[in-house]
């Protein structure tokens, strides 16, 4: 009997953890959508940003701000979110096989260039990831509130 109760407790904690991860991913996308935080020229960089939630290598949630109607053309190659979802699935086991992860993705090849130099240097790896942590803290606090 006690073992059954413990299993239910473990399941509840597991679901709570997952809810926090999913809520955080959605909050990050809302943050990206609601402002001009992503350096924009054509909005394609913003459109191509997604957040994935992994638990032990399994993709449990994927959130994207865009509702794309046209691909981004780079060097005469059309790039769609499909490239990202394949990447998101393929990297799950290899990079995020153990534990819980929230991962910010961009399917645009030039996102790395934007981040590494120029006026928006450090945008993804510094500014947005810091905001990511603040949002996670806020979400955890919300769950910690007693009603």
């Amino acid at each position: 009997m006690a073992q059954i109760d413990f299993k239910e407790f473990y399941r509840d904690i597991d679901m709570l953890t997952e809810n926090i991860l999913v809520d955080t991913a959605e909050a990050v996308i809302r943050y990206i959508e609601s402002s001009d935080v992503i350096p924009v020229d054509t909005h394609n960089l913003k459109d191509s940003t997604g957040v994935g939630v992994y638990r032990n290598g399994t993709l449990k949630k994927f959130v994207m701000p865009r509702k794309a109607k046209e691909p981004r053309i780079i060097n005469w190659v059309a790039i769609w979110g499909e490239d990202m979802i394949d990447h998101v699935l393929n990297t799950g086991m290899s990079n995020y096989g153990n534990g819980d992860h929230i991962v910010l993705f961009s399917s645009m090849p030039y996102a790395e260039d934007v981040d590494s130099s120029g006026r928006n240097s450090g945008f993804f790896t510094d500014m947005l990831s810091t905001e990511f942590e603040l949002i996670l803290d806020e979400i955890v606090k919300l769950y910690g509130k007693k009603s």
């Binding site: 809810n19 399994t58 509702k67 799950g92």
Partner: protein, 135 residues
């Protein structure tokens, strides 16, 4: 159990077909062009987990995607999306598990991974996690 014996996507495809799903189902054999207006794709999501207290028991996830061509206006065909989705409500009704060929499939509690456009060109997509166990 041999690793080569583990083929959850193939078995789930058969389960769906037997249940009456009429949409084309791809399990790694999706063509790059000439796709139908509605189709389903099955892919393994993440790795396999073994319960060491029961040697031979393997668990994992299959990511099921339901893809419906966008309307000529560019909008989502939510009517068709809901009709196809309701098929799975029936199959996994009230948390039911479906057994076939040594596998047990059920909907993951937080089953909707993604719903929207922008995943596949010209289609709206729903990504759904289905858990499997094989003994």
């Amino acid at each position: 159990m041999k690793l080569s014996d583990i083929n959850p996507t193939g078995v789930l495809k058969q389960v769906l077909t037997d249940y009456g799903v009429t949409q084309k189902i791809y399990t790694g054999d999706k063509p790059t062009s000439g796709l139908p207006d509605e189709y389903i794709e099955l892919r393994q999501n993440g790795g396999l987990k073994t319960n060491l207290t029961k040697m031979g028991l393997v668990q994992g996830y299959v990511l099921l995607s339901i893809n419906v061509k966008l309307l000529t206006t560019g909008g989502r065909n939510t009517v068709r999306e809901n009709i196809i989705l309701s098929t799975f409500d029936g199959l996994f009704k009230d948390g039911a598990a479906v057994s076939s060929d040594g596998y047990v499939f059920s909907l993951d509690p937080g089953n909707i991974v993604y719903s929207g456009g922008g995943i596949y060109e010209g289609y709206s997509t729903k990504l759904i996690n289905i858990t499997f166990r094989k003994s």
